[in-house]
């Protein structure tokens, strides 16, 4: 059996969310590595979008600290403006986007703005960037977050990026064009919206983790889909691709 770290499993679970030929808002860190793995395995025709104004076919050759770094621009499909790239979100032209956050709630709403009150915040987080736009408009949203009780909360203090809002059809009623969050990938499990409420349910547990542990580390009364599975471990092909992308072993530990 191939060895892998939790981070590596998360990357591969994220890579599996990318289908061939799709246009993906990639974002930095873990998702950009996931994009590279997907391109090298099952999605050789995916296109990576970066809101600063970059679209790429091949992942960048070299470590990126920001999406604007030189290696992400050399040989790109398109270096242009933010409006041209983020404008692709309209009309179902972007299939998925990856975003993270400080807090996510049972309906997949994400907070990256204020912990506490907006006038008198306990913690002022950096803000939205393009996440609300991606969350509102992309066909599917993939959320990546560490699985801790104070991160997976009953209700976020501030909806920076909308999920299903109050659940049910609230999202559609608010006029949001995109499909909303499709999956939440943590370091312990994978959650998915389930049933008419669109509440996030446990869908699969990562190898080595337990149902009890996952429930205890979730800030709401976590329900499960009827057929909770174990998250399939990385295949050899996936791990080979990841090692090719992550030459320096940044994600290994």
């Amino acid at each position: 059996m191939t060895e892998y770290s939790t981070q590596e499993l998360m990357i591969i679970a994220a890579a599996r969310q990318i289908q061939d030929g799709e246009r993906i808002f990639v974002g930095m860190r873990l998702p950009i590595t996931a994009y590279g793995v997907a391109r090298l395995t099952h999605a050789p025709n995916a296109v990576g979008l970066f809101e600063s104004g970059v679209a790429r076919y091949e992942p960048a050759d070299g470590m990126l600290y920001t999406m604007c770094d030189g290696p992400n621009q050399l040989g790109a499909a398109w270096t242009t403006g933010l409006i041209q790239i983020m404008g692709l979100l309209s009309g179902g032209r972007v299939h998925a986007g990856f975003i993270g956050g400080a807090e996510v709630d049972r309906y997949g709403n994400i907070n990256t703005s204020y912990i506490g009150d907006t006038e008198n915040p306990k913690v002022k987080l950096p803000g939205s960037g393009g996440a609300p736009d991606i969350a509102a408009m992309a066909e599917r949203l993939v959320i990546i977050i560490n699985h801790q009780k104070h991160r997976l909360v009953e209700k976020v203090d501030f909806i920076t990026s909308p999920g299903f809002l109050d659940g049910g059809d609230a999202r559609t009623k608010a006029g949001l064009p995109g499909g909303g969050p499709a999956v939440l990938i943590t370091d312990r499990a994978i959650l998915q919206p389930y049933g008419p409420t669109n509440e996030f349910h446990l869908a699969s547990i990562h190898p080595g983790h337990t149902l009890e542990e996952v429930v205890q580390n979730t800030g709401w009364a976590l329900k499960s889909v009827p057929d909770v599975a174990q998250t399939p471990p990385p295949t050899k092909e996936e791990m080979d691709a990841l090692h090719h992308i992550d030459k320096e072993g940044f994600w290994r530990s």
Binding site: G53, T66, G70, L82, I83, T118, G129, P132
Partner: protein, 311 residues
């Protein structure tokens, strides 16, 4: 873009440009390209000249906004994200927002796309733009300037984002001539819209070239010289941010900034060392010395030529 800029030589020092065009209380765009081509040299000079009550308007300007907040220059932040892109949170931004130190700041929240539309409207004479991409976000509650309305064609909800018209925009370009005609390449974020929306434009050129170089490729011009108010020759004005084909990103500088500005006294020391105790950007470059030289792009990956011949 100013009202009656005459096409003549606009080359000046950055200190003079800021003294002339930036008043206390001004609304400033400083780095609309996101994480590349951030005009950090202008950040420093605004701190040195002690500007106060600025409204910093940009989607994301990496640590520039955090520096200006820490130095007491900022009353208002209008944008989508403030922090240290590769290094984490911005300590000064948090201190100001959470504890009012050194001053309380007003935060006008936008998403990247909605602030883009606000600049677009400001640039091209549209009073507002109806946007769907921030529906459902509490930005609609925290930013009172944006109105929730009904699309009169479909009856569906829409967010009306009014035009933003900054007083001054700073931008870093790879090369410009003495009249401000400039070439930029690589991703540009909201540089064009934000600059045209602004009343005054100050160009920080990494290199000053003959007019013929710029005129050889008018499609690479993002902002024409007739819209530019001042041109400053400031090599590596972007440091520690990258400039495509010119300077690599100084990742360790961002990391060190994060470590060295955790509390106000630390930030004050950092700001003295890197800004206040240096007379200008040439001194900053000299202080960086070999560290800066290592970031210089030495290779050549030239664009294929485009032919503009007429015969």
């Amino acid at each position: 873009m100013g009202e009656r800029a005459i096409n003549n030589h606009k080359l000046t020092s950055l200190a003079a440009a800021i003294a002339t065009y930036v008043q206390d209380g001004a609304a400033i765009v400083l780095g609309a390209a996101l994480e590349n081509a951030v005009p950090f040299a202008a950040t420093h000079e605004l701190i040195r000249q002690g500007r106060r009550n600025l409204n910093m308007i940009a989607p994301i300007s990496d640590i520039s906004t955090d520096m200006l907040i820490g130095a007491g220059c900022v009353a208002e932040v209008t944008g989508a994200w403030v922090g240290n892109v590769s290094g984490g949170m911005g300590h000064n931004f948090r201190r100001a927002a959470e504890h009012g130190l050194p001053h309380p700041i007003k935060i006008n929240d936008y998403s990247n796309f909605s602030i883009g539309m606000a600049f677009f409207a400001g640039a091209y004479g549209l009073p507002y733009i109806p946007v769907k991409s921030i529906l459902g976000s509490d930005i609609l509650k925290s930013n009172q300037k944006i109105k929730l309305a009904k699309d009169p064609f479909s009856g569906e909800p829409v967010a009306l984002v009014p035009a933003l018209k900054p007083d001054v925009a700073f931008l870093v370009v790879q090369r410009a001539d003495c009249d401000g005609n400039s070439h930029i390449w690589g991703s540009t974020g909201l540089t064009q819209e934000a600059s045209i929306a602004a009343n005054k434009i100050i160009v920080l050129a990494d290199e000053i070239v003959e007019p013929e170089v710029i005129a050889s490729d008018p499609s690479r011009v993002l902002i024409p010289g007739f819209g530019v108010d001042a041109v400053c020759h400031v090599p590596a004005a972007c440091h520690p941010a990258p400039l495509i084909g010119k300077w690599k990103r100084d990742n360790s500088f961002f990391h060190d900034y994060h470590k060295e500005t955790r509390d106000p006294a630390d930030f004050a020391r950092w700001c003295d060392e890197w800004v206040r105790d240096l007379p200008d950007h040439a001194a900053y470059r000299a202080k960086l010395g070999g560290q800066l030289e290592e970031l210089r792009v030495l290779g050549d990956a030239p664009s294929a030529p485009a032919n503009y011949a007429t015969e």
